[in-house]
């Protein structure tokens, strides 16, 4: 099998794989992680707010999202987002948002559920005395969160957040259901068109492995650096 390896297929599609595919994957990963962390933090704050109703809504949202396979969520959002857009803006026909926007919204909403659990753990890992001390100094709730609690929670959870981002990086490959050109999707499209599955998947494995390894190496370095400050 390996004797007849056709590396030419990789060479010919190199530009497509990296300029289109990898750029798309990294953009989607980066924006989703950013959006997911921001929304996730808001959801976590809702859950910890002490208002029963708000907490319950957030809890149900998180459980619901985490119960569904991402592929199905991507599918549903692709078809629902235009209608939601229509409903929100009151337009006469569904707002066509494009596959990328739809995927981005999906990933942000889906990952927010996971990130919110991480941020919640991060906030809870901070001793009760910290917000108490901030309050005792006269800081308001918002100031306490902004200057005291969140910076620490974020620091404590950075390694976990990055690990989740690596998972997200791999999960972006599921946009294949929308036929979008992420790295793995691009690889598998070329592979299927040219009948070179084995070569392409092996190559994709190597690329993902290398990038994830670099990232998790970075996480370890960072972890070592942060732990000095504590």
């Amino acid at each position: 099998m390996f004797a007849s390896f056709d590396f030419d297929v990789i060479r010919r599609s190199f530009g497509y794989l990296f300029l289109d595919g990898m750029t798309f994957t990294l953009t989607l990963t980066g924006l989703s992680a950013l959006g997911g962390i921001i929304f996730g933090t808001l959801i976590a704050l809702m859950r910890l707010s002490g208002f029963k109703l708000l907490g319950r809504i957030a809890g149900i949202y998180v459980d619901f999202m985490r119960s569904l396979p991402l592929v199905l969520v991507i599918f549903w959002f692709y078809f629902l987002v235009p209608y939601v857009g229509q409903w929100v803006t009151g337009a006469s026909r569904p707002i066509s948002v494009g596959a990328f926007t739809s995927a981005l919204v999906t990933f942000i909403m889906f990952e927010a559920a996971y990130f919110s659990e991480i941020m919640r753990a991060g906030i809870q890992s901070i001793s009760k005395g910290q917000p108490a001390a901030a309050n005792a100094l006269g800081l308001t709730y918002a100031q306490t969160m902004r200057y005291v609690v969140l910076p620490q929670a974020f620091r404590n959870m950075l390694p976990v957040l990055l690990t989740q981002t690596i998972v997200l990086f791999q999960d972006t490959s599921l946009v294949y259901v929308l036929s979008m050109p992420d790295f793995l999707g691009a690889a598998s499209k070329v592979a299927q068109r040219d009948g070179r599955l084995v070569e392409m998947y092996l190559f994709a494995a190597v690329v993902y492995f290398a990038i994830s390894c670099i990232a998790s190496f970075g996480v370890r370095r960072l972890q070592a650096r942060i732990s000095i400050v504590r």
Partner: protein, 243 residues
């Protein structure tokens, strides 16, 4: 200065942590609160600057009703300094930043003003050269002194201490107690939860003994150490003084 009148507090529906507590602290007075674990000392002191809400009675701080819904709590709290058992310095901020944060965000002082104030206070607690370090780089006793300086930076009208020395190594306790003794001598109004009876007998004007949410004894220092009236207080004193 601090008036506590018939305060009742429940944690949840089932558990009453404070029962009809009444006492007061006059300007410049130093009051020590002691009592067995779980007796409500921390709860009482937290009610004073409204860190814990309470259900019955009222607390009046410098003429302002703490439990009035119209009271601007952050502003009120900024006027009372509080020092916790576990210091609760903000570990992600340098010492100087710990002292400046609330000055700038709450009192609206300029950065330069805040830094000047912070440096003066650090000097006073003997930690000027540590201003650029992080809390984790200091010993426990040093951290607690920073915590006191942080509270003083807000120019408080009174200071509350919740077991400020019980998390410290025996050697470091005295560093912190010395700072507190100085404060007391300068006329700061103080309410101190502590089991350091040495400190109590040296600087307290009054001693309050609590048990199961009630103020069992509220006496002048000399009376308390001389002849505590309740059995419970007597037993307690004998235990903590025996070793």
């Amino acid at each position: 200065m601090i008036e506590i009148r018939h305060v009742d507090k429940w944690y949840g529906p089932g558990f009453q942590a404070l029962k009809d507590c009444t006492t007061s602290v006059a300007k410049g007075e130093v009051v020590v609160v002691c009592g067995p674990s779980g007796s409500g000392k921390s709860t009482l002191i937290k009610c004073v600057n409204a860190l814990e809400p309470f259900q019955g009675g009222e607390i009046i701080l410098d003429g302002i009703r703490v439990n009035d819904p119209k009271t601007d709590l952050p502003k009120l709290r900024a006027r009372v300094g509080m020092v916790f058992q576990h210091f609760e310095l903000f570990p992600h901020l340098k010492i100087i930043e710990n002292l400046c944060l609330a000055q700038e965000k709450v009192l609206g002082r300029s950065h330069d003003e805040a830094v000047a104030k912070a440096e003066k206070l650090l000097d006073r607690v003997g930690l000027k050269e540590h201003a650029r370090k992080y809390p984790a780089e200091l010993s426990g006793g040093q951290q607690q002194r920073v915590a006191i300086a942080r509270a003083l930076a807000m120019d408080p009208i009174a200071m509350l201490f919740d077991e400020p020395t019980s998390a410290l190594d025996p050697e470091m306790i005295s560093e912190v107690l010395d700072v507190m003794v100085d404060l007391a001598r300068e006329g700061m109004t103080m309410m101190v939860v502590t089991h350091e009876m040495g400190f109590a007998s040296k600087v307290a004007h009054r001693v309050i003994f609590m048990d199961r949410g009630e103020i069992v004894e509220d006496a002048l220092k000399t009376d308390f150490f001389g002849s505590p009236r309740s059995d419970r207080a007597q037993k307690f004193l004998s235990k903590i003084l025996s070793h």
